[in-house]
Assembly symmetry: C2
Amino acid sequence: MYSAGDVRIENVPDPQIIEPTDAIIRVTRACVCGSDLWPYQKMERSDAGRVMGHEAIGIVEDVGADVRTIKRGDFVIMPFAFSDGTCPFCHDGLQTSCIHGGFFGTTEIAGAQAEAVRIPLADGTLFPVGAHADDALMPSLLTLSDVMGTGHHAAIIAKVTAGKSVAVVGDGAVGLCGVIAAKRLGADQIIILGRHADRIALAKDFGATDVVSERGDAAVNTAISIARPGGAVGRVGVPQEQTIPGSEPAFYNNVTVGGGPAPVRAYIEDLLPDVLEGNIDPGRVFDRAVGLDGVPDGYRAMNDREAIKVMVTP
Amino acid sequence: MYSAGDVRIENVPDPQIIEPTDAIIRVTRACVCGSDLWPYQKMERSDAGRVMGHEAIGIVEDVGADVRTIKRGDFVIMPFAFSDGTCPFCHDGLQTSCIHGGFFGTTEIAGAQAEAVRIPLADGTLFPVGAHADDALMPSLLTLSDVMGTGHHAAIIAKVTAGKSVAVVGDGAVGLCGVIAAKRLGADQIIILGRHADRIALAKDFGATDVVSERGDAAVNTAISIARPGGAVGRVGVPQEQTIPGSEPAFYNNVTVGGGPAPVRAYIEDLLPDVLEGNIDPGRVFDRAVGLDGVPDGYRAMNDREAIKVMVTP
């Protein structure tokens, strides 16, 4: 991506092992994230451009000399953040705050909408799936690199437990995964706030019990305003404002507002068995698949709300 | 209070039982709250005025026909909010969101900077202390009606547990009670942010291990900015803004922001034994005592930061 709306497919040098803790993976599936649409709408022109994409599954092609647990040939999930797996925050299960970590698809670390990716801190970052899973499971496995883990994070921060009533504000891919997460955690009532017929239909398949087609201008404000006293809001969309709305209703109702970049690395352990056993099928959020050449149009389609989420098979 | 800065002592009719669930208490101790300083600084002129005060201990003088558990002669703590004790929020321990509840010292319900108060929903609201406690304990018992419970609420929402590091932003009476609460919950390191020598000395007595005399303009912004990734902020000061600052640092560090009016009614059960046994002594936040006639000057003294907190003995 060179600037807003300017996504190109280019040949670049193959990624190489730089640090002895690196690995190289061949990407078997990647995708376009809702958060990729922010630079797609706003990015200022950059001569160097930015290799986009932070969600992938793939096969390990090479490992550095100090990589211990990841081996060539492993089938792995690449979380959107890399992490050393050993720092205090990783120990707490908050790998997105790893003191040596960072994010894929940034100006520093090339992204996964590509044939191959260099993975820093491979042992701490990559999650080996173990079994070679069936092809039909690939889309759902891919969601464990971000969107399903992010929906799960929203539900965890919103303190969803058995018997609770949950509202999911937004019917994008993360919201849909939030419905799956709420259902999986035992919520009784799952209200989806959204107005795209296809997405609402999918939300119902995933377990939504109620649909509200109206919502306020700001998702977080809506969430705070409708939360039960003592309730909690899990905020997982990248914030676009300096302040959080709803200071007074949040205060007077003792509503907690939390969330942030989801530590999906920690959540894979919980969610993977349910994917492998077919209990959840978050891969259904992909309603379009493209090759690398189709990525620019994939951005356009997601930005125009023509596609929910676009999968990339390099 | 008739307007900002205009506090008068007046004779008014004695409070009467209105609803059969009411009680009347004779106030033995009341006090001035930091939150009373907002109207003291900002209140617009009102012909009716407002009977201020929402913190008290006292003796039950009369009860309505439907009052079951509270009896004449009981020595009781009056939480700053009244509550029915039976609604779903009361059952959850969030009495400040009681569906039939409300707050003392408002335009609707007369306050406790007075000789006597009408207590709505007496069974759900009042907490009978049981034993007639020693006079020396009265200030600490009084704090259970608000300020100690509020400091405890901040600590609970900030997820203080054994071994944690805690920062308390502000050295007012609530901050000082926050130090007591953090210590009581087992925090290892307790950092007080404040710059009043007398208050800092008291904070150290209460268990503060570190002092930082600089802080930002906004307490919540400071708290969010210094919180550890994955940490939590307990916000208990009445918000004066429509939005919560620090949207981005809160998000990127997965810092949770919660809090609100403290359900002190729920906390009395936890805190009272420690007061009665002398394990905590929050009454030390009162550094001035006045009779009713001294209340106007008590407001002035607190507003000028001449007194930490003023106790009233009607």
